[in-house]
C-alpha cells in the first residue's frame, strides 16, 4: 500500500532523514521505534506532506505522491494523529472533531462523531468547552478522535499513548487492534516500545535518520540490541 524509497528530509541544512526505505502492506500494522530525535516524527510529517522531501519517493497504492499537497493525501486516506496533541485551542471540542472530518460529507461525519464520543465519553461531556482547557490526556484523546474523524485508510499515529492513564493506554491499544481488524492500515510510533512491538505485524528501528533494523514485531521484541536500547532491559 505504502512504499517509501530513499526518502531524505532536512531541516534547513541539517539532514533529519537520510534515505529511508520501507513498505506497509494493506491491512498491516507496522511499528516504528527509535530513540528521541531519531527522526520518527520527521518521517511521519514527510509521509503526510507537511514537510518537503529532499530526495526519494513515496508511493501510495502504486501512485507517486511525493509532491502531493497535504490535503490531497488526507483525501486519499492518509491521516495523521500528530505528536504533541496539536489541538485547536480556542475552538470547542466538537469543532475540533468536526474539522477532523473536514473533507467528508456531513452525514458521514455525524456518524463518525458519534463513534468518537462512544469511544471517549469524556469528550462528549466537554463538547462545547474550548479544547485548550482540556487536561493533557483529554487533549490526547481529542487528537486521536480528530484523526479517526477523517476515515483513515492509512493511519499514522505519533505517540498516541503519551500522557494517558494506564487504563486508557490499554484502551488505545485495544482500539488500534480493532481498527486493524476493520482493515485500516496502521503505522505506529510509540515510546511504549514494548506494547508497540507486541501488537505490530512488522516493525522498523530508526536510528539518526536511518532504518537500522527491520523484522516482525516478535523478533524485534526478543532482539538483544532492541531490548537494551529501547525496552530498558
Amino acid at each position: 500500500m505504502l512504499e517509501v524509497e530513499g526518502l531524505a528530509c532536512r531541516y534547513g541544512r541539517i539532514p533529519a532523514l537520510k534515505g529511508i526505505d520501507l513498505r506497509v502492506a494493506q491491512g498491516e500494522l507496522v511499528s516504528l521505534v527509535g530513540a528521541n530525535g531519531a527522526g520518527k516524527t520527521t518521517l511521519l510529517r514527510a509521509l503526510s506532506g507537511v514537510l518537503p522531501t529532499w530526495a526519494g519517493q513515496v508511493r501510495f497504492e502504486g501512485a507517486d505522491i511525493t509532491a502531493l499537497a497535504p490535503e490531497r493525501r488526507v483525501r486519499l486516506g492518509i491521516v495523521q494523529v500528530p505528536e504533541g496533541r496539536q489541538v485547536f485551542g480556542p475552538l470547542t471540542v466538537e469543532d475540533n472533531l468536526r474539522l477532523g472530518g473536514y473533507l467528508r460529507r456531513r452525514a458521514e461525519a455525524g456518524r463518525a462523531l458519534e463513534r468518537v464520543y462512544a469511544m471517549f465519553p469524556v469528550l462528549r461531556g466537554k463538547r462545547s468547552e474550548p479544547a485548550g482547557t482540556l487536561s493533557g490526556g483529554q487533549q490526547q484523546m481529542l487528537a486521536i478522535g480528530r484523526g479517526l474523524m477523517a476515515a483513515p485508510r492509512l493511519l499514522l499515529l505519533d505517540e498516541p499513548s503519551m500522557g494517558l492513564a494506564p487504563r486508557l493506554v490499554e484502551e488505545i491499544f485495544a482500539c488500534v487492534r480493532s481498527l486493524k481488524a476493520e482493515a485500516t492500515t496502521i503505522f505506529l510510533v510509540d515510546q511504549n516500545a514494548r506494547a508497540a512491538l507486541a501488537i505490530a505485524d512488522r516493525a522498523y528501528v530508526l536510528e539518526t535518520g536511518r532504518v537500522v533494523l527491520e523484522g516482525s514485531g516478535h523478533d524485534l521484541l526478543s532482539n538483544d540490541q532492541v531490548r537494551e536500547a529501547y525496552l530498558g532491559l
Binding site: 521505534v33 530513540a35 528521541n36 530525535g37 469524556v122 468547552e129 482547557t133 482540556l134 487536561s135 493533557g136 490526556g137 483529554q138 490526547q140 484523546m141 505517540e159 499513548s161 503519551m162 500522557g163 494517558l164 492513564a165 494506564p166 487504563r167 486508557l168 493506554v169 490499554e170 484502551e171 491499544f173 515510546q191 511504549n192 516500545a193 514494548r194 506494547a195 507486541a198 537494551e228 536500547a229 529501547y230 525496552l231 530498558g232 532491559l233
Partner: protein, 271 residues
C-alpha cells in the same frame, strides 16, 4: 508542623470542579506521587501549589507559612519549584542560560549594578554560570551546555526543565509527567535522578502515568479522581485498592503485574 499542608482546596473553572475540597499533608524528605485518571485535576493541583492559579477556596501552608493567594514568584522564593507537563522553556536562549535563569532568586542584582556592570557582578556571573553547568551535568546534559534550547531533543528538554527547577534550590520539587515521551531506557535514568534528589534533601512530588516509575520511587501515593481524593497511602496499598484499579489502573491483571515491580521489566505500562 507539616512540611506541606493542603486544606479543603478547591478550584472551579466555570462549572468544572477541577479540584474539590482536597486536603492532605506531605512530609519532608519523601517522594510523593499523585496519580489519577486524565482530567482528575493533577496539573491543576500543581498549578495551585505554585501560585499559577489562585484557589477558589481552601489554604496552602508550606513549612508553616500560609502561601494562599501569593504570586508564583513568591512561591518560588519560599522554596517550591516545578516542571511542566507541556514544556515551558525559554526557547530564545541557550540551554545553559535557561538554567541560569533558575538562579535568579539567588542573585543580588539591582538596576544600577546591572547598567554599570559592577565588578562584583562579573564575579557572581561566573559563579552562576559554573553552578548552572554543574546542574546540567548532574541531570546528564553535559553535552548540551552551549546548545540553543530550541535545538535539543525532547527527552533532553524534559531534563533541562528539571535542572532549571533545581537551580532555584528548592525544598519542594513538583514534577508533572517527567517521563512522558521518554522511552523506557530513558525513564530508568529518571528513576535514578529522583533517587539522587531525595538524597540531596529535596522533597519530590511526582505526577506521572508511568506506573513503573511511580511504584518504584514513591514513598507515598495520593490518588485523585474528579478533583477529589480517591485513595492515599504507600505504594503497595494503593496498587491493590480496587477503587484505584477500577478508576485508573484498568485491568486487575495490570495491577498485579505491578505487584512484582521490583523484579518486573520497567518497560511497558500497557498490557
Amino acid at each position: 508542623m507539616n512540611f506541606l499542608e493542603v486544606e479543603s482546596l478547591s478550584k472551579v473553572f466555570g462549572g468544572v470542579h477541577a479540584v474539590e475540597d482536597l486536603s492532605f499533608d506531605f512530609q519532608a524528605g519523601a517522594v510523593h506521587s499523585i496519580i489519577g485518571p486524565n482530567g482528575a485535576g493533577k496539573t491543576t493541583l500543581l498549578n495551585l501549589l505554585t501560585g499559577i492559579y489562585s484557589p477558589s477556596a481552601g489554604r496552602i501552608r508550606f513549612e508553616g507559612q500560609d502561601l494562599t493567594g501569593l504570586a508564583p514568584h513568591e512561591f518560588a522564593r519560599r522554596g517550591i519549584a516545578r516542571t511542566f507537563q507541556n514544556l515551558q522553556l525559554f526557547f530564545n536562549m541557550s540551554a545553559l542560560e535557561n538554567v541560569m535563569v533558575g538562579r535568579h532568586l539567588h542573585e543580588r542584582c539591582g538596576l544600577a549594578s546591572a547598567l554599570l556592570r559592577f565588578p562584583r557582578l562579573s564575579r557572581e556571573e561566573l559563579a552562576c554560570r559554573e553552578e548552572a553547568a554543574e546542574l546540567m551535568r548532574y541531570v546528564g546534559l553535559a553535552r548540551y551546555l552551549g546548545t540553543a534550547a530550541d535545538a535539543m531533543p525532547y527527552g533532553a528538554l524534559k531534563r533541562l526543565e528539571i535542572a532549571r527547577a533545581l537551580a532555584t534550590r528548592p525544598r519542594l520539587l513538583l514534577l508533572d509527567e517527567p517521563a512522558a515521551g521518554l522511552n523506557p531506557t530513558e525513564a530508568l535514568e529518571l528513576d535514578q535522578l529522583i533517587g539522587r534528589l531525595t538524597g540531596r534533601g529535596v522533597t519530590v512530588v511526582l505526577v506521572e502515568h508511568n506506573m513503573h516509575l511511580v511504584m518504584g520511587v514513591s514513598d507515598h501515593i495520593l490518588v485523585l479522581d474528579y478533583g477529589r481524593k480517591l485513595a492515599e497511602g504507600p505504594a503497595a496499598a494503593v496498587r491493590e485498592d480496587p477503587r484505584v484499579i477500577e478508576a485508573y489502573l484498568g485491568s486487575a491483571a495490570a495491577a498485579r503485574n505491578l505487584g512484582a515491580a521490583g523484579a518486573a521489566p520497567r518497560a511497558g505500562i500497557g498490557p
